[in-house]
């Protein structure tokens, strides 16, 4: 009883001290637990990089998500805008970019445009030599009889794209390429009028789409994969994305 009385005044102090210490430790532990998040654009755009790769390298293995690295910035920004406006249809992309401001989309586009990562090969479906040959013809010469211009006439001699708005076609997976050509025909991919690629895609037969996608996806990479300089090509068709230049029909 006596001991108890002596101890009583000390108890609350000890308890408070212990509690304070425990709280400090807990707070410190909590602060240490909180992840350290870098203030970088790369960190901010995890929603993009999870499919397109941290450096926009795409997913060559799965064959669907396109490479973004090194594509002209204006092209990439335009695609995000087209998804926002519903001109280009792919629900996960529409959902992801739906709120982004023009300034933020430009910043993201510039990030991917500036990335330099090696290209890699995607799986190709088995196609005949004749198909590949037809594809190669369309890529480099086109088919004047069907009024199909060569891919190279807009996308650059080496198909590495042209600044500022024409994407490179090398290093893209077969599945992605054939899906895009198909979606121009089904109006699930479009852009500002006149939509020259929609015109061209509608002049391609089904077998042409297979051929050209296979030829592009199997092409050897040029030594220099940078997009050609602005103004270095004259498009054969009027294209809205190129300021409707072009003189053919």
């Amino acid at each position: 009883m006596n001991t108890n009385t002596k101890l009583r005044p000390a108890t609350p102090i000890v308890a408070v001290a212990l509690l304070a210490a425990a709280m400090l430790i807990a707070a410190a532990a909590r602060a240490a637990d909180a992840p350290k998040i870098p203030d970088t654009l790369q960190q901010r755009i995890a929603a993009c990089t999870t499919c397109h790769g941290v450096h926009g390298e795409g997913t060559p293995g799965s064959g669907y998500f396109p490479r973004l690295a090194g594509k002209p910035a204006a092209y990439l920004a335009r695609q995000m805008q087209d998804f926002q406006n519903g001109l280009r249809k792919y629900a996960p992309m529409e959902y992801t970019v739906r709120q982004l401001s023009p300034a933020y989309m430009q910043e993201i586009a510039e990030y991917f445009a500036a990335q330099q990562v090696p290209y890699s090969r995607s799986p190709l479906p088995p196609v005949s030599a004749a198909t590949l040959q037809r594809g190669e013809q369309l890529v480099s010469k086109g088919d004047p009889a069907s009024r199909i211009p060569a891919c190279a006439s807009c996308h650059g001699n080496q198909l590495t794209g042209v600044q500022p708005s024409t994407p490179g076609l090398v290093g893209l997976p077969y599945d992605y390429l054939s899906a895009q050509l198909g979606s121009w025909r089904t109006h699930t991919r479009g852009t500002v009028a006149p939509d020259c690629m929609a015109v061209i895609a509608n002049r391609l037969s089904d077998s042409d789409i297979t051929a050209v996608a296979a030829a592009l996806a199997s092409r050897q990479l040029p030594a220099d994969t940078h997009a050609q300089a602005a103004g270095s090509v004259t498009p054969p068709l009027p294209c809205g994305v190129l300021g409707a230049t072009g003189d053919g029909t």
Binding site: P35, A46, C51
Partner: protein
């Protein structure tokens, strides 16, 4: 039994039609702008137009009345309802296709009484159940603003409703059940701030149109106020806005509510799904006074009893263990092992009402879709979450969502794999 059900349905339809016809027989002449009591000079008053612009933002009119990639307020968006699609009309002042020929009297009749220019009953996809509370003065300002917009010529598409809902007079029966016409009446027992908040939340803000469950006729029973509910067809869950524990705003301070509505983020959670659009298009533009009023009102909602802590329908141990592994691998780097998130960047998952809401839809779809936090003036370069739809199987998503819903202080039911597979198929709108 089938014939009996059919017979009952037929009788119900006939009764609806009869009631509709009785309540609403003849037509009604629109008031032409020239005959209106409101003068053109009034409608051109810049101060009135500016106030109307603010109120139209508060009501997020553009949210429905603008199609994806379309001109603002020119309509054209298809509003999907369980009863069919409703194309949203053009409300720019175009004379042929918009409100160019409308008088304020016509506008008031639509907003306040839910009736079109010719007296036709409007479908409640236009939330006049809430807008009826808007004051005459505010409605006038909104009308002045809408009339000041550039006219866009865009014809509204016809309704695509299923029978019997396609019979417009059937709305009369619906209105008898769910619609009470009347401007908001302030509660003299409450402060001016509380009343302002209640007015905004119940009226123009039309929060209850999503944040309360709808019954099989698409109506919200009168006693269901902000109790939370699944948004039909969009399939997101708008959480309970009372201070309820485990699924409501338990622990939210007024500042947390203001932060979420102003910036898209708060210490308690981040807006996503349809609410992200509401924040970006509407609430971020609200004045601090109005946001504080909304917070005061929401904070005063009766604290409903905590949502039931549902016992797991099966032994969930292995599911939750698997979920913890996935969480450690894919989620903990941003949301923290303790589920507390990172202040100002990634939302906490512990105590997050979108995690613990009863359906599990929000957490599941957030994992599948990822996405950016709302883009607001306060947060112009938001951080984002990766979509896991491509990386995780239905079983894995079920595991990690179940783990998150049952960890730390969260006590929500597990999410079965079949729900994930259903949510994966939900169209993204």
């Amino acid at each position: 039994m089938k014939w009996l059900r059919r017979l009952l349905l037929l009788i119900a339809i006939l009764v609806l039609l009869l009631v509709g016809w009785l309540f609403f027989g003849g037509g009604h002449q629109p008031t032409s702008p020239a005959m209106s009591k409101v003068t053109a000079a009034t409608l051109h008053d810049p101060a009135l137009i500016a106030r109307g612009g603010y109120l139209v933002k508060v009501g997020d009119c553009a949210g429905c009345h603008t199609a994806q990639g379309g001109a603002a307020f020119a309509g054209g968006r298809l509003l999907a309802t369980p009863f069919g699609n409703i194309p949203v009309p053009n409300i720019t002042p175009d004379r042929d296709t918009g409100l160019g020929d409308w008088s304020f009297e016509d506008f008031w009749q639509a907003l306040h009484a839910g009736k079109g220019r010719h007296g036709e009953l409007l479908y409640p996809a236009f939330s006049y159940t809430s807008y009826t509370k808007v004051t005459h003065d505010d409605a006038l300002a909104m009308f002045a603003y809408l009339q000041s917009l550039p006219a866009v010529h865009q014809t509204s598409r016809p309704l695509m409703l299923d029978f019997p809902y396609s019979v417009r007079n059937s709305v009369a029966a619906w209105r008898a059940l769910y619609f009470k016409e009347g401007v908001f009446q302030p509660d003299p027992q409450q402060t001016a701030q509380w009343n302002r908040g209640a007015y905004l939340v119940q009226g123009l803000g039309h929060c209850n149109e999503c944040h309360a469950a709808r019954d099989s006729l698409g109506g919200t029973p009168q006693d269901m106020h902000l109790t939370g509910g699944q948004i039909p067809l969009q399939n997101w869950y708008a959480p309970d806005l009372s201070t309820r524990r485990n699924g409501g705003l338990h622990g939210w301070s007024e500042q947390d509510i203001v932060d979420l509505l102003k910036t898209g983020q708060s210490a308690k959670g981040t807006a996503f799904g349809p609410m992200a659009d509401v924040v970006a298009g509407s609430t971020q533009h609200m004045s601090d006074d109005d946001l504080r009023a909304v917070a005061t009102y929401l904070g005063s909602l009766p604290a409903r009893p905590p949502a039931a802590e549902e016992p797991s329908p099966f032994n969930a141990n292995s599911l939750v263990q698997q979920g913890e592994k996935i969480y450690t691998q894919h989620c903990a780097d941003c949301h923290g092992k303790d589920g507390n998130g990172v202040a100002g960047i990634y939302p906490p998952l512990d105590g997050n009402s979108s995690v613990t809401e009863p359906s599990g839809i929000n957490a599941t779809r957030a994992v599948l879709l990822g996405g950016f936090a709302p883009l607001t003036a306060a947060n112009p370069r938001p951080y984002s979450m990766p979509p896991f739809a491509q990386q995780l199987s239905d079983a894995e998503v079920a595991a990690v969502v179940s783990y998150i819903r049952g960890s730390w202080t969260n006590k929500a039911a597990v999410v079965p794999e079949r729900d994930v597979s259903k949510d994966r198929q939900t169209p993204i709108d």
